[in-house]
Amino acid sequence: MPRTLTRRELARITGLSALVLPWAGRAARGGQNTFRGRVGVAKLAPPAAGGALDPALARTAVARAIVAATGAASARVALAALFKPSDTVGIKLNCLGGRHLSPHPELVEALVQLLVEAGVAAERIVVFERSSRELQRAGFVVRRDGASYRCFGVDNDYDPTPSTSGAIGSCFARLVSTTCSALIGFGVVKDHDLAGVSASLKNWYGVIHNPNKYHDTNCDPYVADVCNHPFLRDKLRLTLLDGLVAQCHGGPAFRSDATFPLGVVAASTDPVAADAWAWRVIDAERSRRGLPTLAAAKRAPRFIATAARYGLGVGDPAAIQEVAG
């Protein structure tokens, strides 16, 4: 007998949504420490070509961005509300752009220092990327032990079996699934040839073993599905973006003729809002240069709206509240 399964039947039989269902009906992500739709922005000029950032200025910018994002009295207060001393905090960088278009090490050091001051022991902080080699190329020192914070790549340390979230089925980095109890995304502000924007949510493609499988249809809904997995949905508490230099075209690789000195550090407890803000910034620069908007170029970052529908944050660029730090 012919049998045509409905989508729902198919999902039931294949179990593809098995992991989604338990929390599908939950309230939207957020709580007293999540400031939906709000992005804190602090000014900081990029260093001269080849130069390093002044650590004191870097610290001030990171702290101001966090304060602006949270309205807390200080960065220490804000971070102490977000992270417990018992947390193991993972900071996921996006270093694909190499030295020219990755988070500046001085900014990451500043964040680590502020976390320590907020009560998280340095040895419970792990700065990580997909591979150690990428970290080194971006100017970070790989460190797996010692009294200081850790800094190393996932380097194939994934869960042995895949887990499912929406349309994706992936083995997650054990750092994310098991080791860390809290996560911070630390990306850059750049155009992405397929996704449209690579800033906050897209950065988390770096924690699954098979991101190459999920670049169809402008990475939608896949980016949102990765971030809706409980490993991220329940652990991601803060997003920072190094916007000292941003890129409005030709990403994700660094392209010198498409970068521009945006001169800001951005922070948000709403990872979707951080992307919506980045989209706004990139489109503004594209307009200034006479380039079509991302939507006109047929690569609007649709995953942002999908993530908003999942309740992960605010996805409408026009609804983002930018607060100067």
């Binding site: 007998m1 294949t14 397929l194 499988k213």
Partner: protein, 379 residues
């Protein structure tokens, strides 16, 4: 099922690798010693075949129907092809992650040198994502995530000769994504009198398929379903290009066998099996063997049972009733449906148990009872 070369084997094959100097050189960096383990940044990147530039540093892959458009520093969906500054590279030429000597029945080929052994090899990567993949631990990973060793085509051919096997087989993961490696290995193997077979999903564009077919002795294609919805939902591919590839292989005169993994409730309806077998007969001919094989829960499809024996038997009956001459059941050791039977007189020609050939009565590729010629690669 990984085989790592020991020092002695690697040294012996090193000589063979000298012959590889005729092959295209790696993109940059040193050529790894034959048999050496490959690490993430030592992958033997070579300029890929079958792609075009889209300008502004972007490329379009023209190997499989996905036609990935890839930005600089990014990879295609298979994870083994990378855009580096506007030039497209394969990262798996010579990067063997599995090397093993298997009976040819394991592929399965039932009409290719029954009982012969095949040196079987694979690299990481696949261009689709079957939720029921049996080899997902290599097919669904990128090459730097899977332990591999450097075995260039001449070394593989030499290894086959050294092991005394008449066949090489590109298998386990998806040969389409290492198609340059398949092509160059088939050429190298031909020079030393070894024939090459391919076990594929058939999800490939016509030009690269046609280019390599002349070097192949046989191709087995997994026809995963006869419904496009199945391909889209459970495979993340499309049916039409696979049917086209089957026609191309058949038209080229390369020996073809088809495997259909029957998954309970997904692709096992009588109507679908009837449509499939009718199409095979009408388009490819009644002499193309079709194997209906048993599904076991795995990877992302673990909530379905193994295929009932009755389902496999019913599929076989439908195929035979629709006029196919060679319809087998698979993953069912000891079942009579594993045997090759003469469609003329009904005599059992090749008796099998699983991957073992218990008896081969074929006489010069014909039935010894009625003299009917049986199609295949027999000598």
């Amino acid at each position: 099922m990984r085989h790592r070369l020991d020092r002695r084997e690697a040294a012996r094959l090193g000589a063979a690798a000298l012959l590889a100097s005729a092959m295209p050189r790696p993109a940059r960096g040193r050529t790894p010693p034959v048999g050496s383990p490959l690490e993430g940044d030592d992958l033997p990147a070579r300029q890929a075949s079958w792609w075009k530039s889209l300008g502004e540093g972007r490329v379009e892959c023209q190997l499989c129907p996905r036609g990935c458009q890839v930005a600089d520093r990014e990879r295609g969906a298979c994870g083994v092809r990378e855009n580096r500054g506007g030039t497209y590279f394969t990262l798996v030429w010579g990067a063997a992650c599995s090397v093993h000597v298997d009976p040819i029945e394991k592929k399965p080929f039932f009409h290719v040198l029954p009982g012969a052994q095949a040196l079987s090899f694979a690299t990481a990567g696949c261009n689709v994502e079957c939720k029921f993949c049996q080899n997902w631990e290599i097919s669904q990973f990128r090459p730097e995530q899977v332990p591999s060793q450097y075995l260039p085509p001449d070394a593989l051919a030499a290894l086959a000769r050294q092991r005394g096997v008449p066949l090489l087989s590109a298998t386990y993961s998806e040969p389409v994504v290492f198609w340059e490696y398949v092509r160059d290995t088939a050429l190298a193997a031909r020079r030393v009198g070894v024939r090459t077979t391919v076990v594929s999903n058939g999800y490939i564009q016509e030009a690269p398929l046609k280019e390599v077919l002349p070097y192949l002795a046989a191709v087995k294609v997994d026809l995963k379903s006869f419904r496009d919805a199945f391909y889209r939902d459970l495979v993340r591919g499309e049916l039409k290009p696979v049917l086209k590839a089957l026609e191309t292989i058949r038209a080229a005169g390369v020996w073809l066998e088809i495997v259909v993994l029957l998954i309970p409730t997904m692709n096992d309806s009588e109507e679908e099996i009837r449509d499939l077998t009718r199409w095979v007969k009408a388009t490819l001919g009644h002499e193309v063997p079709v194997h209906f094989t048993r599904f076991h829960p795995t990877y992302r499809l673990t909530n379905l049972p193994v295929t009932p024996v009755a389902t496999l038997e019913r599929a076989r009956s439908i195929g035979l009733a629709e006029g196919l001459s060679y319809v087998y059941v698979g993953n069912l050791p000891g079942h009579a449906g594993e045997n090759t039977v003469c469609p003329g007189c009904g005599a059992v020609l090749v008796r099998r148990f699983g991957f073992s050939v218990l008896e081969n009565r074929l006489a010069k590729g014909a039935c010894p009872t009625c003299g009917r010629a049986i199609p295949g690669v027999w000598s």
